[in-house]
């Protein structure tokens, strides 16, 4: 008789444990919960019923960061150089504190052209920016940065360049209209190079003004796409502006991971014919 009672009790207990569920996550099993579907942020009594509503903090975390790795390509076919393909892998780190942000990025490239191949570090960019939310929809980003001369050039004239930028973004519902301007102080030294035949090649640099404008659209809550036009002075004096049309995408994978992809088509002789990148980032 005792064995039967013990067996019955164990059976009931194990059945109860296996069937345990607590849909409103209040700590009271659904089978005995007198108030199912209690709001999560309510404190409950032993019956699972609200005894106090909690005031929830609506503050956002002040600081965030992200780390982004990317694979990039640019291809050009200039009259003086013929087809040249450049592949690079990039690393970017951003740190955000409230409306202030710091940014650092660098990349390693490999260039292959007709009878030419080279690889090494590109310039490294470090910068800071401040976001000003003028209205609910209008965001202004003011930035300053420096391109550190980590790129080793045979011209031996690479110096730190400084950039100031102003970007505006107007986001209304699912649409984002944006425009940007940046000015770069190009500090590379002018040089003249003479070849064995006595021909002289001049490298004369200038500061650059760059403009961009475009429109983006949130296709879903996690996918954003945009198209833009970009124009900038060439870094060399006396050359046509660099003009491109570009497509850009941002995909939020989950609360931490995201991807960006980008393609640009060259509209002027001084631009790369095609440029593309795909990047994977972790935001925390």
């Amino acid at each position: 008789m005792k064995k039967i009672i013990l067996f019955t009790m164990l059976s009931l207990l194990s059945t109860g444990l296996l069937a345990y569920s607590d849909a409103d996550m209040d700590g009271v099993a659904d089978s005995v919960d007198k108030c199912p579907n209690t709001p999560l942020m309510d404190l409950v009594d032993i019956n699972g019923c609200t005894k106090k509503k909690l005031n929830v903090s609506h503050t956002k975390s002040n600081s965030h960061a992200d780390i982004i790795v990317g694979a990039n390509y640019s291809g050009s076919n200039f009259a003086s150089l013929n087809q040249t393909d450049t592949y690079s892998s990039s690393l970017q780190v951003d740190y955000y504190y409230k409306d202030f942000s710091l940014q650092a990025s660098t990349s390693y490239y490999k260039t292959d052209g007709h009878a030419y191949s080279e690889n090494g570090m590109n310039d490294t960019f470090v910068g800071a920016a401040y976001n000003i939310k003028l209205t609910k929809y209008l965001l202004v980003r003011v930035g300053a940065g420096a391109s550190l001369p980590t790129y080793k050039t045979s011209l031996n004239n690479n110096n730190t360049d400084y950039t100031g930028s102003l970007n505006v973004s107007y986001a209304l519902a699912k649409t984002n209209i944006f425009a940007g301007y940046s000015y770069t102080l190009n500090n590379d030294d002018d040089v003249s190079v003479k070849d064995s035949l006595g021909n002289v090649y001049d490298y004369r640099y200038q500061d650059t003004n760059a403009y961009s404008a475009g429109m983006g659209y949130y296709l879903t809550n996690s996918l954003y796409m945009s198209a833009a036009y970009n124009q900038s002075n060439s870094i060399y004096k006396g050359y046509e502006d660099v003009k491109t049309a570009s497509l850009y995408g941002y995909k939020s994978i989950d609360k931490n991971w995201f991807m960006t992809f980008f393609y640009a088509y060259g509209l002027s002789n001084t631009a790369s014919d095609h440029a593309a990148s795909i990047k994977l980032g972790y935001y925390f």
Binding site: A79, D123, N156, V200
Partner: protein, 161 residues
């Protein structure tokens, strides 16, 4: 000097990133401990521990609270074998969490878009710098004062664009 600048910049960013990672880790450990205690507690204590957990959630910022609730859901579902849908247990808070996630993704996409505009210019400038270097290498020139005829690199396409 160049090396010193780069080292200083990387060190600054590294320190900031590590500092924040440490803060995130300590919050995560505390939440983990509370969830483990709830899971291990007998039924009569579970309500009390769950209430304590909720009080902690209420003090967190939106992002941390969202992460803690998701972690809690995953662990409770794994333990109980229930198929609760995300947000089902949240009641009115579910909408808040979804809205916060959407806002976070939107703001980050907006930031990345503005960075992309600037990076486009940086990339094209770098491309031009590399082309200049390539042109110099292929013509085998050496540094010199200007003598004889002067020529410059030709960016034009061979067959026009």
């Amino acid at each position: 000097m160049k090396f010193a600048k780069i080292t200083l910049s990387v060190a600054l960013l590294g320190a900031l990133t590590l500092g924040m990672a440490d803060e995130t880790a300590s919050t995560s450990v505390s939440v983990d401990a509370q969830i483990a205690a709830i899971q291990a507690a007998p039924a009569q204590e579970r309500v009390q521990l769950m209430n304590q957990f909720k009080q902690k959630l209420a003090t967190m910022n939106q992002a941390d609270r969202m992460a803690a609730i998701q972690e809690m859901q995953q662990k409770m579902q794994a333990q109980a074998g229930t198929q609760m849908q995300a947000g089902q247990a949240m009641g009115a808070n579910g909408q808040e969490m979804g809205s916060a996630m959407k806002q976070k993704a939107t703001e980050h996409a907006q930031e990345m878009q503005m960075q992309a505009n600037e990076q486009m210019t940086q990339m094209q400038n770098m491309n031009q710098r590399q082309s200049g270097n390539q042109f110099m290498n292929m013509n085998g020139g050496s540094m010199s004062g200007a003598t004889g005829g002067s020529q410059n690199m030709n960016f034009n396409m061979p067959a026009g664009r």
